[in-house]
């Protein structure tokens, strides 16, 4: 069946649909409540390094979408089991961190080379405090290891602050890009690539960068980066966006 064969809607049904409009709108206070809750949620997500956010970042939007946290956990025994494991492992790691002899380690925190863009909206996330140096003058003493499963010291697994910092960089880039300032978007994207070449948000960074490059007319760079992207993330959810950007090259 095609569009050419599509019959007209029966007149009585069409009239019914016309008469039924408009559908009841949202109560004013519901809009305000969702607005406030969303604002907090976005800020919280940034503050905790988007752990919850990234938990479903890889899920296609056509997969069963998460509902409220309690609903989704209760309805998915595997998730509940995994959550139990994570909580237990976190508690163990935390206990280990408390009981083991103190060990100070000097680390050097890179100063941000540019100040973050001012918040463009009430939804703009605030850079998490953990992503910023406590004192620009003195080297920082490493904080206690995060309450995560052990082996985070040796592995390349990013910490919450890494994730938060990654998100801040991408947010700055995204805001600049969305406002038509593609050149300004490249800076934070490049910094992200230098600091977190294999970061949790590397896939999103690359997809955004390809779109930026196309809009800036840097087609060869965009094509090369796109080829790498498709090799590295063949099943990416962002593939359509990347391919659309490349197809848009005149």
């Amino acid at each position: 069946m095609s569009g050419r064969q599509l019959e007209r809607l029966d007149s009585d049904i069409a009239a019914l649909l016309r008469n039924a409009e408009p559908y009841p709108d949202a109560p004013v206070d519901a809009r305000a409540r969702v607005h406030d809750a969303l604002k907090l949620r976005i800020a919280d997500a940034a503050a905790v390094g988007l752990q919850n956010v990234e938990g479903d970042a890889g899920a296609p939007i056509d997969s069963p979408a998460p509902t409220s946290g309690i609903f989704s956990l209760a309805s998915r025994p595997i998730l509940a089991l995994a959550a139990t494991f994570v909580v237990g492992a976190s508690a163990g790691a935390g206990l280990h961190a408390v009981l083991r002899p103190p060990r100070d380690r000097i680390i050097y925190i890179e100063r941000p080379s540019v100040s973050p863009a001012p918040p463009a909206s009430v939804f703009d996330v605030v850079a998490p405090a953990s992503a910023l140096p406590a004192s620009p003058e003195a080297p920082a003493i490493e904080a206690p290891p995060p309450a995560r499963p052990a082996a985070t010291e040796k592995s390349a697994a990013p910490s919450s602050s890494d994730l938060g910092a990654e998100q801040v960089l991408l947010d700055v880039a995204r805001t600049a890009f969305a406002q038509g300032r593609g050149e300004e978007a490249l800076g934070p994207l490049d910094r992200h690539a230098q600091r977190y070449p294999k970061g949790i948000l590397a896939e999103e960074r690359e997809a955004l960068a390809i779109n930026v490059l196309v809009t800036l007319g840097r087609y060869d760079d965009a094509r090369a980066r796109s080829a790498r992207f498709l090799r590295r993330y063949p099943g990416s959810l962002l593939r359509a966006s990347v391919e659309a950007a490349i197809e848009a090259i005149p």
Binding site: P24, D25, I61, P66, F123, G180, S241
Partner: protein, 187 residues
């Protein structure tokens, strides 16, 4: 296929009405998302949480949205997926018609108002009779006025599947509505 670069030319490509800023999208489209969730059978008490989830996903995916495309089918797709997941839980499967009396406006019950309320209830009963996949296509096509290619893209289904679902949805919707009218006429 050569197209204009996405995300850059939208403002001058005749789709400038689509806001690029998340705040603006929220302000402009909250009502649409709210109504869509209702049309997908989400009860009003649950709609706030699900609207929150829809916009949170929109916030995260906004950088990848192609602003050459219409915004609403894209938003609808989020609402559809989230509503679909929500409705899979058995306890969420009852419909919202039981609360219609609570959500209609409180205007004086003039004949016209009463008629619109009855029409609204009929539409909701008709929508309830549809499988969610069919309902999504029906709402997008018949109520939102979207073109089928956009619907197919948004819902990630083949074009012919979209038309097929629409045909089935129309038939079932019409049958349900006419049966209810008949029952009302007999009572």
């Amino acid at each position: 296929m050569a197209r204009s670069p996405p995300l850059q030319v939208a403002a001058s490509a005749g789709v400038g009405a689509s806001p690029r800023d998340f705040d603006a999208i929220f302000a402009q489209e909250f009502s649409y998302v709210w109504r869509t969730l209702g049309r997908l059978g989400i009860r009003e008490p649950d709609r706030e949480d699900l609207a929150n989830e829809v916009f949170f996903q929109v916030y995260r995916r906004l950088p990848t949205f192609d602003f050459e495309r219409p915004l609403r089918p894209w938003l609808f797709a989020f609402a559809f997926r989230i509503a679909s997941g929500h409705r899979r839980l058995a306890r969420n499967r009852f419909e919202q018609s039981v609360e219609l009396s609570e959500v209609v406006d409180g205007a004086p019950c003039a004949d016209e108002s009463m008629e619109r309320r009855e029409s609204q209830e009929l539409v909701d009963r008709g929508l309830e009779s549809l499988e969610l996949d069919q309902r999504a296509v029906f709402v997008l096509f018949e109520i939102d006025g979207c073109a089928m290619p956009e619907i197919a893209t948004a819902l990630a289904i083949p074009l012919n599947t979209g038309y097929s679902r629409l045909r089935l949805a129309r038939a079932r919707f019409a049958a349900t509505v006419r049966r209810i009218k008949l029952q009302q006429g007999e009572s």
